[in-house]
Amino acid sequence: MLLEIKNVCKKYGKKEILKDINLSLPSGKIIGLLGKNGSGKTTLIKLINGLLSLDKGEILIDGNKVGVESKKIISYLPERNYLNVHKSVKDIIDYFGDFYENFDKDKAYKLLDNLDIKVGDKLSTMSKGMREKVELALVMSRKAKLYILDEPMGGVDPATRDYILDTILNNFNEGASILMSTHMISDIERVLDEVIFINDGKITRYDEADKLRKNSGKSIDEIFREDFKC
């Protein structure tokens, strides 16, 4: 298994955000982590990336605990603009190239060229949506084993959504898995192999998307709405 999550719990103060999460995710799949805002999606993702400390349980990525080895093979897109805006695109590409052995600079330049972004442009001169695209292009330019994309479609217009979905589909490393969180299910459900439903810190479903559709005759979006009555 590529990603194993065993009995993971996380509290903020007294508030339990994650309650005994167990998951085993395979390689080579696009997996949707679906939940409403505040369901624990981002917390789980941050734990996998080592941005939060674990209260209880264990997380293994390709057999390794969260650390240098796991960070080498995970390419992570946070839910916020996180790059230093004072840097130019070239600076950031050099930065990625210096630290990630699996970063493909040529690919990054090509993807950014398609966006009509010049390498000298500073991030501070770009709109929020454009920054999101740059960040996605960088993340997808790594030959990773696991891509973790937190709300990649958050707050962008429909045309941008198409661009983002295309970029993800066309660029992820063969044999790798993608774990993608979202609360906008109808936009991405057709690309998902498997779906995880998370609600109130618990996993309520983990199944193949087409199997759920076949058994119910409904879309994942409908099933989700029925499960959680939103």
Binding site: L51, K71, L83, H86, F99
Partner: protein, 260 residues
């Protein structure tokens, strides 16, 4: 990896330090240029202001260097940028060590910039031979330059420990779920007063072990070397505190990281 991390830490610090150094050099050069026309009364007044500004800039440059390093530490490791920094395939210890080395390197550069700027501003014929004479001056049985070197090392250790104290306060404060900045400040105050208290304790212990010490400082036979020995106790103690703060920063960053 340390080299790469350090390279980018220094690059980021350049953004703040280059303007500071430009101001210090600028003031130094202006002072020198204006001093050629000091007979003109109006220029003499400007020269006076320029010198005041230069002294002001020089004095604050060390504090500013510290503040820039702390700001970079906070932004790079505990704010949004931390999402990138902490997902690099680099050990947490390396990230922290790089920040400490960057503080060390930048304060040394600031020191050199200040010296060079002052030399530019106030250079006169014979200055260097005067300085050499001063350095060789006997100071209670110790050459002045040895004393200077000693004080510089002590100053550097004190500076680094202070920076590490703030690093540790931030590491603790930002592991909390709310009021991160406030708890960082509170922890910095706790550490600060704790240290003052400990210094008093160390002083007490020294007095207890060697009650005649203070008296000997006032005696006719006062030797500088005795005073330095006295300082050395504090220097070692400060070093130890620095190491403790380093460890605290590391532990909290490694085990209690809480980015949100």
């Amino acid at each position: 990896m340390l080299g790469k991390v350090l390279k980018y830490d220094l690059k980021a610090l350049c953004r703040y330090l280059v303007p500071l150094y430009a101001v210090i050099f600028g003031l130094g050069i202006m002072t020198k240029l204006l001093s050629f026309f000091e007979k003109v009364s109006i220029i003499n007044i400007i020269l006076g202001l320029m010198i005041v500004a230069l002294i002001f800039a020089v004095t604050f440059s060390f504090v500013l260097t510290g503040i820039f390093n702390i700001k970079h530490y906070l932004d790079n490791l505990f704010k949004d940028e931390g999402y990138l920094t902490h997902t690099l395939p680099v050990k947490r210890g390396t990230l922290l060590l790089s920040k400490v080395l960057a503080s060390f390197i930048t304060i040394v550069i600031t020191f050199l910039v200040v010296i060079i700027s002052l030399l530019i501003a106030f250079y006169q014929k014979g200055l260097f031979s005067d300085i050499i004479d001063l350095f060789n001056l006997d100071l209670g049985g110790l050459e002045f330059y040895k004393f200077m070197i000693y004080m510089m090392v002590y100053g550097l250790i004190g500076y680094l420990t202070t920076v590490l104290m703030v690093y540790a306060s931030i590491a603790i404060g930002y592991s909390k779920n709310s009021n991160k900045l406030v708890s960082s400040v509170v922890w910095a105050l706790i550490f600060y007063f704790g240290i003052e208290f400990l210094y008093l304790g160390v002083l007490g212990i020294v007095m207890f072990i060697n009650p005649s010490f203070i008296a000997s400082l006032e005696a006719e036979s006062f030797l500088m070397i005795d005073l330095l020995n006295f300082f050395t106790i504090f220097m070692i103690f400060t070093c130890l505190l620095g190491l403790i703060f380093y460890y605290i920063s590391y532990r909290f960053m490694d085990k209690k990281l809480n980015l949100e």
